[in-house]
């Protein structure tokens, strides 16, 4: 990959001169050492397995269009070597459906769809508020796009962004009738904050849901039973928030159906001051794919929390002061204890301060007292950004929300919590530097080792690579506009064309896109002039499918064949995990396998399986406040046969006609294509099997005496030709010569005697195994 070296050791934000507590250094020293991944990197596959496109869709929302609100659908093609065409479908809240024009996305390309403009183009003028959800249909072997919806009210400085998920097929009846619980969290930044909830029904049947608003200790503040029309959407105003005695609490939604049947989203807002924030919801429970395991983070990071005076580079109005916030909710059935720590850059040195542990009871919502915690860390007067890291010791069931808000509550920088787990590359679906926008990216190296990454800006017609070296535990913050402004040519000579203002980005290991790395990354697109900031969902790159290359496969007895275990990456590449994988044969008396090399021991059938646990699985559109990748590892299997060349049946006749013999002779010619088959009748799909034959004559009415023979080799399908000719002077009657053909197959130095063929030569036909012709 092309690289232009840049060491990101010092955050752009300046630090005020403050005294760092000695405790911080001590606390950092006590932390267990975290290593960067040093997993072997699978090479690109030399032989690709074939893929079959399948119809699929993702769904997200809500979208809202009215006099104030504009909704933009952002699409990103995660496939880097192929264009894709997607079909957006708008579902209105009453279930009405509108098919929008198809959108073609170039490799790695992005597209935006203005939903209001699309409705207008179809003659639907939004006189009143229109809202609903979006389905995006595609035809591809895996989920090929990352998408999110941005709903913005520029006049009131409100912005929400909503991600997408794959509803998936409505599978088993048990899943359809399963009881689902989705947990969310609310908080009031100030007393006038209220909220709304949207429930979109992706199924063709009406769905009932119960919404329960809870206080910070689980007390029920209100309950609602909602019926969502088929493929419609219902919006619920969270009026309880206005009268709630507590400043934070939970939301519990229960319904019967498939995990993703209801799309649940919502927001917190105070229109009066332009405050807006997304309601966080825990992701539906997901089952690991076959052969994979769930990846459970040991810690979570909230990156880039701003505190103190705004960074002057960001052009906020003078006197803008930010305060970070961070909330936790225990959505599990057991108490959870977490230990937070603050990490920040002291000059070029990452510094940390461990905070007291927090014990959360089930259903408890807890707002961290950030001013006090910062003061305890000696950061009372600190201006800059910091990371909050929660050590969860692998406990699950924690819902988090965080961000920074200015004192007027107009500028809200939401920050998602990111699970700290090793992954392959991560992608940011969209960045913008146009129309007053800029995109802030925060990257944290959680390892106690230096790591080097490639940050790739992708834009229409190209990309630009920037090398980033982050020291142990270091954080880098930068605006995309910084890169564009200072970029020359990268190591491959790529430049960023003038006028480039939008695109996508990805961050990968320096060796390869499938190199495992350990980092946390977050980004936000902010616009000081419009007083908006919103995040978009990262995509964790990874494997989408696994395959054993030859499926089914055949190997000759006493011979070997090399199988390979290949992973299809979401970007379009395929990687060869043959040497990484563990291999297994279902019957080692039939065949053994080592590193994919199959040894045929005895005739029979086996199932070959391969698996590897350290490959991350592709996690698209993962907006839930958690980590990604969600799952790791994959496996594949392939049936196979230890093949013994057994027979060479005719596949078809090429010619079957009278032979043009010399005067006084007449005869027949039959030219056939044969295939070498094994003991089961399956073709042995191997080239260079050397075919030979000999004859014995049973009765020689044509007085042949002998039959000449020749040799040929098979093609990759195990096929070869065989020409039979006869010319005779004994053609006046019905004389025949009955023979037995003895074919042999010499393959990899071993000669196999095949089943004999009965060949009867006559002057007007040549019969092979009783048949004078083989139907085409």
């Amino acid at each position: 990959m092309g690289i232009r070296s840049r060491r990101y050791l010092i955050p752009r934000a300046a630090f005020a001169g403050i005294a760092i507590s000695l405790l911080a250094v001590i606390a950092a020293a006590q932390q267990p050492r975290v290593l960067a991944p040093h997993d072997p990197i699978a090479p690109e596959a030399k032989t690709h397995f074939q893929l079959r496109s399948v119809p699929g869709s993702i769904a997200g929302g809500p979208w809202i269009v009215d006099a104030h609100d504009q909704s933009i659908l952002y699409l990103k093609n995660v496939v880097e070597n192929a264009s894709i065409t997607v079909a957006p479908v708008l579902h209105l809240s009453d279930g009405t459906k509108y098919q929008l024009p198809a959108v073609q996305l170039a490799p790695s390309g992005i597209a935006k769809v203005d939903i209001g403009a699309s409705l207008e183009s179809m003659g639907i003028a939004p006189l009143a508020t229109l809202s609903g959800w979006v389905e995006i249909q595609y035809n591809w072997p895996w989920e090929p796009l990352c998408a999110y919806l941005r709903v913005v009210d520029l006049t009131r400085s409100m912005v929400f962004s909503f991600g997408f998920s794959a509803p998936g097929p409505l599978s088993s009846q048990a899943e359809k009738s399963a009881s689902q619980v989705r947990e969310g969290m609310w908080w009031k930044q100030e007393k006038n904050v209220t909220g709304f909830l949207t429930l979109a029904n992706t199924t063709p049947k009406a769905m009932n849901a119960t919404v329960q608003i809870e206080g910070n200790l689980g007390a029920v503040l209100g309950s609602h039973t909602i019926t969502v029309p088929p493929q419609g959407m219902t919006t619920l105003d969270l009026l309880e928030l206005q009268t709630a005695a507590t400043k934070e609490g939970g939301i519990r939604i229960t319904y019967v159906g498939a995990p993703d049947a209801l799309l649940i989203n919502g927001g917190l807002e105070d229109v009066g001051v332009g405050y807006s924030a997304n309601l966080p919801f825990a992701a539906p429970e997901r089952t690991p794919p076959k052969g994979a395991h769930a990846i459970i983070p040991q810690s979570f990071a909230e990156l880039g929390l701003m505190t103190g005076q705004a960074d002057p580079y960001m052009s906020f109005p003078a006197g803008t002061i930010f305060t970070p916030y961070s909330l936790l909710r225990n959505v599990s059935l057991s108490p959870i204890t977490v230990t937070p720590a603050l990490w920040w850059m002291q000059g070029a040195a990452p510094t940390s301060f461990q905070l007291p542990s927090i014990r959360l009871l089930p259903s408890q919502t807890y707002r961290l007292d950030m001013p006090s915690l910062l003061a305890s860390a000696g950061l009372k007067d600190f201006s800059g950004s910091l990371n909050m890291v929660f050590d969860t010791q692998g406990q699950t069931g924690l819902l988090m929300a965080a961000g920074s808000v200015d004192k007027t509550n107009t500028y809200v920088f939401e920050v998602a919590s990111r699970g700290v787990v090793k992954s392959a590359g991560k992608s940011l679906s969209y960045w913008s530097t146009g129309n007053g926008d800029d995109t802030m990216v925060t990257i944290w190296n959680p390892a106690d080792e230096e790591q080097t990454f490639i940050f790739r800006l992708v834009f229409a017609g190209g990309h630009y690579d920037d090398l980033m070296t982050l020291g142990p535990r270091a954080t880098a913050m930068f605006d995309i506009s910084d890169i564009i402004r200072t970029a020359g040519a990268d190591a491959e000579g790529n430049i960023i064309p003038p006028g480039t203002q939008e695109g996508s980005a990805k961050i990968v290991g320096i060796e390869a896109e499938n190199q495992n790395i350990l980092l946390a990354v977050d980004s936000g697109i902010y616009n000081v002039r419009k007083a908006t900031c919103y995040t978009n969902c990262p995509t964790c790159d990874g494997s989408t499918l696994f395959s054993i290359l030859f499926d089914p496969f055949g190997v000759a007895i006493n011979e070997q064949t090399q199988e390979s275990f290949t992973a299809q990456w979401n970007t379009g590449s395929q990687y060869d995990y043959t040497t990484n994988a563990s291999w297994n044969s279902s019957n080692t008396s039939v065949a053994t396998v080592q590193t994919g090399l199959v040894n045929g021991i005895s005739a029979g059938d086996i199932t070959l399986s391969a698996g590897y646990s350290d490959v991350p699985l592709y996690a698209p559109n993962y907006c839930a406040p958690s980590g990604c990748p969600l799952f790791g590892g994959g496996s594949g299997s392939a049936p196979g046969t230890v093949q013994v060349p057994t027979a060479d049946p005719i596949q078809w006749d090429n010619s079957n006609v009278a032979n043009s013999c010399d005067p006084g002779y007449s005869g027949w010619i039959r030219d056939v294509t044969k295939q070498v088959v094994d003991q089961t009748g399956a073709g042995i799909l191997a080239s260079y099997q050397q075919m030979a034959e000999s004859y014995t004559i049973q009765s020689d009415g044509l007085h042949m005496g002998n039959i000449q023979t020749g040799q040929g080799s098979t093609n990759a399908s195990g096929m070869f030709g065989d020409t039979y000719r006869v010319c005779s002077t004994y053609c006046t009657g019905s004389a025949t010569t009955s023979t037995t053909q003895h074919p042999t197959d010499t393959w990899n130095g071993q000669t196999y005697t095949l089943q004999t063929n009965s060949v009867v030569y006559a002057c007007t036909s040549i019969s092979i195994n009783g048949s004078i012709s083989k139907p085409q």
Partner: protein, 229 residues
Amino acid sequence: MKRALSITGIVWITVGAIIALGQAKPPIHPRVTLTSSGTAIKTITEIGRRAKLPIGIILGKDYARLCRVSGSFDFSDSDARDDLRKVAGLADYEATEEHGTVLLTPPDMLPWQEDVLNHRFKNFRGFKNATMADMGMQLTGLIQMGVGRIPTFAYSLAYSLNDLRISLPPMGSPSTEEIAEQIVSLDGGGIWMMKPLVPNPQGAKDVVITIMSYRDRPSASAIMGCSPG
């Protein structure tokens, strides 16, 4: 019939019709670099394949001679014809050139073998859309039926589906040798070998013409062997 092979001066006799169909045009002085050890026939085959030089081989009374004599050869950018002469000479074969084909003649060629090679076929109709190996079989049939007067000729020829199919046009009254030379001078070149059908051949009815194309992927050792049949 034969003319001593000149290493430096070679006269090419061409048949226009054949050239038009893609007759092989080896370099005038093809050169090879080759390290080989094994039987003479193996090295001869390898030289021919590398130089794309049409070759004819006659197995004489001691038909195993070329397969019995072995040696190590190290040719470095040397003239292929010269190399053939050296290798064949180890088995007391004589290398001559006929119509662009290097003919390797054994010291113990039988008189009837020469008769077979000189036999002319009136109104030879050519071979259509056949592999070189198949043409060899058909030529064998012409010999055994036309000269050997056998009552029936039959063969069963396994072949590779990738083998090149070519055609040899009709000729006036060519000899066996001329037909064989023309075949191995077609696309890509090849080797023809006159070998016995049985251990103690008595005449034309016991003769086989085996042909190997350089462009196809035969098992050379099997096809260009010295065993009868």
